[in-house]
């Protein structure tokens, strides 16, 4: 069983929003489009985005962390949005675990949005259908694309390569390895939804300098006579002790 997913590495995400707009750009003219913009040039513009970055602060100055947190559909293994759908429009694709919406069946009732504990469904106010991340199904299924490009638009766009894509059921995949080796975690596992997407936490590199690394025999100050040897004739214990 394949379960495609994103693994998002918060250790390198700088919050640049490349994933947000590249997603919008690919999908608005793609299979899941269009992605409407409401009041695009007016007060309080808003619109449909399948992927958003939230930024928040943790801790108090000066021990502050600024966390950029990209969030889209987590393609749960047990997605609560599917059984609540009255028309069967929401479904989990068996062959790769994608959670998708059939727009022809969707009536825009929003049950799925209420059921989703992660708030990642986006009702299209124009077409009155429920949109969501498809992991760019029309890229990953598209054999006309070179294989290296059969990936979600956000994954290809991400300048810090913070978004890894693959099969979390394949233990040797890049995503499984990343989860295993770097402390990958799920969002709110207590809900039992088994989100397929995982996050990698911040990791801190430190450097310890030992005091004796500063006192070195090859200190260049000696060459310029700035750490001179004491003159031979200076007083020493040799002059006053004899036992």
């Amino acid at each position: 069983m394949t379960q495609l997913a994103l693994v998002i590495d918060l250790n390198v995400c700088v919050g640049c929003h490349a994933c947000v707009t590249s997603c919008k750009e690919w999908n608005t003219s793609g299979l899941a489009g269009s992605l409407v913009d409401e009041r695009p040039y007016d007060r309080d513009p808003t619109g449909t985005f399948f992927n958003r970055v939230q930024t928040f602060e943790v801790g108090e100055f000066p021990n502050t962390q600024t966390v950029h947190f990209p969030k889209s559909c987590l393609h749960c293994e047990d997605p609560p949005c599917v059984p609540v759908c009255p028309t069967g429009a929401s479904f989990k694709r068996p062959e790769d675990g994608l959670v998708l919406v059939d727009y022809d069946k969707c009536i825009g009732c929003k049950y799925c949005a209420w059921a989703c504990p992660y708030g990642v469904r986006e009702l299209d106010e124009d077409r009155k259908v429920m949109g969501k991340c498809t992991l760019c199904v029309d890229r990953i299924d598209n054999e006309a694309l070179p294989e290296a490009e059969r990936k979600p638009a956000c994954v290809l766009a991400c300048p810090t390569n913070a978004r890894l894509f693959g099969d979390i059921h394949d233990t040797e995949s890049v995503v499984s390895r990343a989860i295993r080796e770097n402390g990958g975690y799920q969002l709110m596992p207590e809900w039992g939804t088994q989100p397929a997407n995982h996050y990698l936490p911040r990791r801190k590199t430190e450097l310890r300098i030992h005091r004796d690394e500063l006192d070195r025999a090859d200190n260049p100050l000696k060459i310029d006579g700035l750490l001179p040897k004491p003159p031979v004739k200076d007083p020493s214990l040799d002059d006053v002790t004899s036992w």
């Binding site: 250790n11 390198v12 700088v14 919050g15 929003h17 490349a18 947000v20 707009t21 590249s22 919008k24 750009e25 608005t28 003219s29 299979l31 489009g33 269009s34 409407v36 913009d37 695009p40 040039y41 007060r43 309080d44 513009p45 619109g47 985005f49 602060e57 108090e60 100055f61 000066p62 502050t64 962390q65 600024t66 966390v67 950029h68 998708l100 919406v101 059939d102 022809d104 124009d126 199904v137 029309d138 006309a144 638009a153 766009a157 300048p159 810090t160 390569n161 913070a162 590199t205 450097l207 690394e213 500063l214 070195r216 200190n219 260049p220 100050l221 060459i223 310029d224 006579g225 700035l226």
Partner: protein, 967 residues
Amino acid sequence: MSEAPAANSARATETKTTTCYMCACRCGIRVHLRGGEVRYIEGNPEHPINKGVICAKGASGIMKQYSPARLTRPLKRKVGAERGTAQFEPISWEEAYTLIVERLAKIRSTDPKKFAFFTGRDQMQALTGMFARQFGTPNYAAHGGFCSVNMAAGMIYTIGGSFWEFGGPDLDRAKLFVMIGTAEDHHSNPLKIAISKFKRQGGRFISINPVRTGYSAIADEWVPIRPGTDGALLLALTHEIVNTGLYDRPFLARYTNAGYLIDADPASDTHGMPLRTGEDFGQGSPHFSHDELWWDRIADKPVINHAPGADPYLAGEFRMPDGKPVKPAFQLLMDRVQQYTPEWASEITGIPAGTIRRLAHEMGVTARDQKIELPIPWTDSWGVEHETVTGNPVAFHAMRGLAAHSNGFQTIRALAILMSLLGTIDRPGGFRHKAPFPRAIPPVAKPPKSPDAIKPNTPLGGLALGWPAGPDDLFLDENGGAVRIDKAFSWEYPLAVHGMMHNVITNAWRGDPYRIDTLMIFMSNMAWNSTMNTLEVRTMLNDRDESGEHRIPFIIVCDAFQSEMTAFADLVLPDTTYLERHDVMSMLDRPISEFEGPCDSVRIPVVPPKGECKPFQDVLIELGTRLKLPAFVNADGSRKYRDYPDFIVNFETEPGSGIGFLAGWRGKGGEKTMRGEPNPRQWEMYAQNNCVFQYKLPRSYQYMRNWNRGYHEWASRTRLRRNFDPLIIQIYSEVLQKFRLAAQGKGTSKRRPPPELAKRIERYFDPLPFYYAPLEMEASDTTHYPLAAITQRPMAMYHSWDSQNAWLRQIHAHNYLFVNPRLARGLGIADGDWIWVESMHGKVRCMCRYSEAVEPGTVWTWNAIGKSRSAWHLAPDANESREGFLLNHLISDELPPAHATGGRRMSNSDPITGQAGWYDVRVRIYKAAATEPEESWPQFQPVPAAPGTNPVRRLWQAFVAGTGEWK
């Protein structure tokens, strides 16, 4: 899913490559078109800059292309309409050309300097600068003076290269990376790629910044610092590194002027200058004789520098045979930094002294103990063969955060010197140059020296911008006054190497040093976020003299969008977007070179221009041809170039020089690189190669390029450089000392500053780095205005132009003032409250947002989100204008009268380079009264949509490419 994937892909039609211009990064992109409409813009995986990635702006290029704010027709201000009210009537291009040419021809035949030409965009300076020079006016510059000239000048005057497009941190090999101040926006995608790889390789990343946003978010350690105090920190780090002996002595001795003997006799006419033998070791260079002396510690006597077998003392005090006291430059640096203890810097920066010491130790020990030895043989400038290239893997990056202060030049000198002490210049894991850098220190190009360079109907006698090496290179009139309208290269701002665009409107309005006739602005929002003192500058732009004539008689603005600035134009020229034009990222300008060698690139149109839009380059060539500027016409005065693409292919710097705008596929059949005859199929060849040309130097030429004989010979053969003498790092700046001597009435130059400026020159032109508080701070009552106020640029927006982008404005529709909660609570301000921010120059009302990620003495906001009502075609009540705000209203373009020198108003700028001191302003904040309106202040009158702009979809829009219409 209403469509099958097959049907979807069948509609995909065309893919073209070009170069992004949603910011200055210049990533390669692939643009997919469907039915002629832009369907998808992605990073080009085969491009060396971005290797397939793209950013939020780049992926939103579609919404720029189809923005309703786009200008599509030339516009003329309506008769009787006031400037600023944006009342225009459309005219034809022919009318526009006639209007401009008649006006400019008259100026050119009388006094060419009355035409001032300033550009916001600075990646087509090779052409815009050439146009100005051919016209004969010295009044030309791009926006570098108000951007980051301190970074360019501070580093180039020290190491012959700089961050920016000229060089950068080698994070592939670094072990420790230190980013100081805001530096996100230059070379942004490559830096993001590099930081991510660096972190995953286990590198340690330290960010020193008043604010923790952007890349600082993922730093292993955030060190909060007070704005404008970076110089104090860098000097204290230097203090600790020097005193503990953590500097790279062999590097300093051989590759810098640390061992040069400096005249230490205060009574001497050459005090502070290096001693010289008077011989010429310049290998043909007319600018550098390389005859300075060392005190050889083996023979214990003075010798010519780099004498075979000699090794200079870096410390000590010596007497020449004639009794003259001398000291090695490094001794003078050591003397200087003794006062800059970590405890001293702690008081100024707010960083604990222990942290400063630890940072110095981390840098010094990593550089010393984690050395890289690459098995790459190379030969240095003195003929010594080295079997390896050594690297000390400590890398730095900095940009505007250091630069945009009036003490930025000396701060950045201190940074470049610290990087040199650690032995990291053009070495693996440190700082590496990008062609055409490194250049001479300072570069050879000089501004004209006197007004004689300006003659009617004649090109300017010299380059409008250059690199003074002493007072003799200043551009002065017979009374020692400024010749340029912005006063660059005068005694007021001697090393203003990028010009001072921020002074132009104020100076022209005041008629100081003279009145001009026509001001042409390309793509810069000088009536809004690109100017200091925004309210008054807007008044100046429309102000009239006693006779009722506008003080700035004629204003031409070229832009692609209806900005705040276009409203003030007499004539508006509609530019194309980046997807509709040819462009070059040229070796004559700021190419996209990589560490491994020169690299340039092009834009090739992927869609036709909208409406009557014309690329500004074509407009310049047309104007140059009609004005019969020599470079653009044949001997008989006939048209020489059909258009910009034709110009790019066929232009050579001199007839037969083989040097043109593009370095790739030169020669008749495209068989030559760097240099060769024009190739008629050059554009085609760029198009076939992802719009990019990359030359990889042999590995032995990729490092140590300041002193790499092989590289210099290669650079000389390809004419990147004329000479091949070594480029010695200036730990001690002889150029600065020449200015100081002139101010003291000494030295070889006959030029002397006017008495009222002599003290200023003497103080700031210190050959060694020193710390002084930013000038504005010195002049502010810091009890009344206790806070620093700064801006940062969000990664999802660039300059002002992204507010008309329907997708990007959903990420940032308005800005807040970020305030540390401890500070805010003490002032009774709650999160989300409306507050006033006040400086001694003005005030704005805005909303407060609590943030723990800012040091408590600083408040900050995102740059250029706030907009004037209905500019950029936004609704009059859009968040950008009703809630967004501009910090610029608080920042003066001139220093307070207390800083006036002999009655002169001085620019709010670095006294050395004229860099605008954006980040020096001091403010206080207080809660707005409950009775006040909940909107930002000041507000501005809405302006009508310009003729030719598209109607806005008010309620909603849904873009699907290739459907022929928008829903």
